[in-house]
């Protein structure tokens, strides 16, 4: 790993083994490899019932009637619930806008919307009973795109909107609109020697986490409910669940179960309220587990997008201006659409210096499946388009595409189109240089003395080519992603840290509500505690709502924000421990009063290394505990007309080089290598960092060549809700992914770290597309690329 310019004094106490910067092992690793780790779908309770959700078979319809009589009468059925059974005044939920009905009320707005719930003694009993519910739908015309959404006579997806965006959107079928205007793009365009335009289309990607939505709700004697669930943000769930149940938040006790991946798909609620409703109604524990088919309807997807871009450049290769219009399809409910619009607009220029811009991003309400958070949202769609534009410009100017990008790359001090200066390292040009400098993989790796090894060729085991029609291409891309929640959101986290002596050894316990979804936050929290508190043994308490909010495991923010909260609480604990030590032993050594004191290797030491006391002695008979909130620097909302404002707290940068081989006759692609260089500020756990980069890269590859939820434009129904037809990369589709990690500290962030989870998902897709264009000479303005697009069929 390359390390460049880590400033001094950002890390402290690193002498304790297993602290930050080491590739310590996951604390949940052993449980996960033995099958003992309790995922939300593994929960079990005596006398437990199974919940089942009946979903709409049409995308847009009035519900004339629902007849549940036959279902209720089915032996083994304990409850059948519809909208009429909802117990409280509040009957909707939503991340930002409460526009999503818990159960459909008079109308369904998308294919697969929940209409009724069944609880029964066996999943098959519940399924059979649900099949007996009769729903009379009167179908309505479907809104599926911008034209149908904003037509003068368009049916409104949501009547009577009263959310805080309705005042500034041009049509009620637009969720949110964010323009950004800086400089004068029209004037600057006159300086351009070349102008390129493009219309780009980004398909609907699914998070496709492997553990479908699931959980267990257990009714309590006090009228409350315990909920064990896989989610990304316990407290956000709680805030939405409790009002609908008509319960105060303290009566809804949530515990995080094992989470089988998330990637944004668990930001919105799925089965949480449904399971609680059934448990409270029946007085029995209720488990709901979606199957893969239902999972495709159970969570939001990545916004598909249409992007129109215009760029100009002078003949010496300097960008003059950029105009773009980004139309994101939010589907039937708002979910994270407003934030997606904010990211797409504010990051639409990419990591480049362009002073004159005219930007507009909108998200639509349609009857397509609801779209919301997925890794890198907003920034992913924009990156696909602006990187295609960069290649077009370079080609127009007859310049090397990497050199052209480097010439226009942003750096620390660059002003964003929002007017915000970039106030930490932005090594865009360096990342491009590094990724280009990596050695290229050898040509024709399929050639063996035995003939062609088809596993190394496009088509793989399907034996479609032995080298015929195969052309290699190389492509580059770089991207920028904001880290943390932006636009003035109070983005904080809470950590409770306890220190005590157990079995003669000092032990730290870290308790947060952070959702561990696989990213390794629990590993990092233990490392931070070791570094700050000088202990070896760290216990990570399960995440629950008995401690304050940790915010979401989203936006590449958890190591930054909850990691920051853990460090902060550890520092407060350390001060208390030192106070204890001074009280107990202060008279024995003057350094207790005069020296800078640290906790290292289970001891209190001076900054000169002198040992003053064992922590076991200091803590004997005492436990020190602190629960505290921690915030990153505040951000501001973007101005609704100009888009100006210090909206972001940090950025994350990655660059990719893709090497592909394309069977140009059959239109099949094999990605040979996908090299990545990323600045991570400080790698708290290098093994996990590389794992995140490789995983994010692979999700970008997926949406480049295979992943897309296909929605029928006539009916707005999903055509491929299964792993048979929604394909994600297998190990045979995934190339080697060499990773070059740069560590340029952000002095504003804990340990100088940078949020890393999303950036690799941005540039991976356009790099693969660029490589395919390089191999085929085709324009390819949409992703994913299908064989039809490569063969003109």
């Amino acid at each position: 790993m390359a390390t460049t310019g880590t400033p001094a004094n950002l890390t402290q106490g690193s002498k304790t083994k297993g602290g930050i910067g080491e590739s310590t092992l996951r604390p949940d690793g052993t449980l996960k490899v033995t099958g003992e780790f309790a995922y939300s779908s593994d929960m079990w309770h005596e006398d437990m019932l199974w919940g089942h959700t009946l979903r709409s078979t049409v995308a847009h319809a009035e519900i004339r009637s629902i007849d549940i009589s036959e279902a209720v009468a089915t032996p083994g059925v304990y409850a059948v619930l519809t909208y009429d059974d909802l117990p409280a005044e509040m009957k909707n939920y939503g991340l930002e806008i409460q526009d999503t009905p818990v159960l459909a009320h008079g109308k369904v707005r998308h294919h697969g919307e929940p209409v009724a719930l069944v609880a029964a003694d066996h999943p098959e009993t519940a399924r059979r009973a649900a099949a007996k519910i009769r729903i009379d739908y009167a179908e309505l015309p479907v809104i599926t795109d911008e034209a149908s959404a904003t037509a003068p006579d368009a049916v409104l997806v949501h009547e009577g909107r009263d959310d805080h965006h309705i005042g500034h959107v041009p049509h009620p079928n637009i969720v949110h609109r964010q323009p950004i205007v800086r400089g004068n793009a029209a004037e600057a365009a006159e300086r351009a020697d070349v102008i390129v335009t493009g219309e780009y289309t980004f398909g609907m990607q699914d998070q496709a986490f492997l553990g479908p939505e699931s959980g267990l709700a257990v009714p309590c004697e006090d009228g409350g409910v315990e909920l064990y669930v896989a989610t990304q943000w316990l407290h956000s769930d709680l805030r939405q669940i409790a009002p609908v149940l008509g319960l105060p938040e303290e009566k809804v006790r949530m515990t995080l179960s094992g989470v089988g991946g998330a990637f944004g798909g668990r930001e919105d609620l799925s089965m949480q309220i449904h399971a609680c409703l059934l448990a409270l109604r029946t007085g029995k524990p209720v488990k709901i587990v979606y199957n893969r088919f239902e999972s495709f309807f159970g969570h939001v997807h990545r916004h598909p997008a249409k992007l129109h871009y215009e760029h100009g450049a002078t003949k010496d290769g300097k960008l003059t201006h950029m105009k773009c219009r980004i139309v994101l399809d939010g589907g039937a409910y708002a979910s994270a659409s407003p934030a997606v619009v904010g990211n797409a607009s504010s990051l639409s220029v990419g990591p480049y210096v362009v002073d004159d811009v005219d930007i507009e991003a909108i998200a639509l309400y349609t009857n397509n499946p609801p779209c919301g958070a997925m890794r890198g949202f907003g920034a992913v769609q924009a990156c696909f388009a602006y990187e295609a534009q960069m290649d077009k410009l370079a080609a127009e100017l007859d310049m090397d595409p990497v050199e052209f990008r480097r010439l226009n790359a942003m750096e620390q001090g660059t002003i964003m189109p929002t007017g915000q200066p970039v106030d930490s390292p932005a090594p865009v040009a360096e990342l491009l240089r590094r990724v280009k400098a990596m050695p290229l993989p050898p040509e024709q790796q399929w050639v063996t003395t035995e003939g062609a090894d088809v596993r190394a060729l496009p088509g793989g085991l399907s034996n479609t080519t032995h080298g015929e029609g195969v052309v290699r291409g190389v492509g580059y891309a770089v991207g920028i992603k904001n880290v943390g929640f932006s636009e003035g959101f109070d983005d904080y986290s809470t950590a409770k840290v306890r220190m005590e002596v157990i079995n003669g050894e000092p032990v730290a316990t870290v308790h947060t509500a952070m959702a561990e979804v696989g990213q390794g936050g629990v590993t990092v929290h233990a490392q931070i505690a070791r570094t700050e508190l000088g202990v070896t043994q760290v216990t990570i308490h399960p995440a629950d709502t008995q401690v304050g909010s940790a915010g979401s495991t989203s936006a590449s923010r958890q190591t930054y924000v909850t990691g920051g909260a853990v460090r902060n609480s550890c520092e407060l604990v350390r001060e208390k421990v030192l106070d204890l030590g001074r009280a107990k032993f202060g008279t024995y050594h003057p350094a207790w009063a005069t020296a800078e004191l640290l906790l290292e290797g289970g001891k209190v030491v001076t900054d000169g290394g002198e040992v003053l006391a064992d922590l076991t002695d200091v803590l004997e008979g005492e436990a020190v505990e602190v629960e505290a909130e921690w915030r990153h620097r505040p951000t501001e909302a973007f101005d609704l007309r100009t888009g100006q404002g210090n909206g972001h707290v940090q950025y994350s940068f990655a660059a990719h080089r893709a090497v592909v081989e394309v069977d140009t006759e059959l239109g099949l692609v094999k990605v040979i290598e996908l090299a990545c260089a990323q600045d991570v500020g400080k790698a708290l756990n290098p093994l996990s960092v590389v794992g995140q980069i490789q995983g994010g890269t692979t999700q970008g590859l997926g949406v480049a060549v295979m992943e897309e939820i296909v929605v029928d434009p006539k009916t707005a129904k999903v055509r491929n809700p299964s792993f048979t037809d929604y394909l994600i990369p297998t190990i045979l589709d995934t190339p080697t992914i060499p990773v070059d990690v740069l560590e340029l500290a952000d002095e504003h962030a804990p340990y100088g770290l940078r949020g890393i989870g999303e950036a690799p998902t941005l540039s991976s897709t356009p790099a693969v597309l660029a490589a395919i264009r390089n191999a085929t000479g085709l324009e390819l303005n949409r992703t994913p690329v299908r064989p039809e697009h490569l063969t003109g069929t």
Binding site: P27, I540, I731
Partner: protein, 198 residues
Amino acid sequence: MRVNFTVNGRPQEADDVWEGESLLYVLRERLGLPGSKNACEQGECGSCTVRLDGVPVCSCLVAAGQAEGREVVTVEGLADYARQRSEGGCADGACGSAGSGVGLDAARRWEARPSDGQTGEQGELAPIQQAFIDAGAVQCGFCTPGLLVAADELLERNAQPTDADIREALSGNLCRCTGYEKILDAVRLAAARQGEAV
């Protein structure tokens, strides 16, 4: 119906099994062995991979009744299975499977044990299990049980697989977190350690 079969060396009996239930459902919901994961129920992800009479199969596509009288090894029994194989015995010894699922207490305490981050738990792990931890091949871990069963079987029949062999053998197991690189590392590591041990 009633189904009798052997799981991880221990005779098991499941009653009141609905005829349409899969082996996966019976393992997870009736026998208290939720290690095998349910991620797609259509043979497209490999998360439910178990050995059925020694052969890796998707347990979601085996009707429970088809398991009658047969031997099943799940991730819960993998360590014993590997240990007995290395000792040259038949790999059908008892494993510690309990008769209940994951209770709330276990869920609340899933990792409420002190850990120093340097070593795995000192329990007996199969070499492939230890390698997955050491190589960073586990993130969310939902694909891990199926991958372990498949990778262990690969190393059983091919002690020194090439990368292409590993990729082919694991091509039926989807992982959404890792990008597979560290899974490849883990299998290489287990093979290398296995080679050193011989």
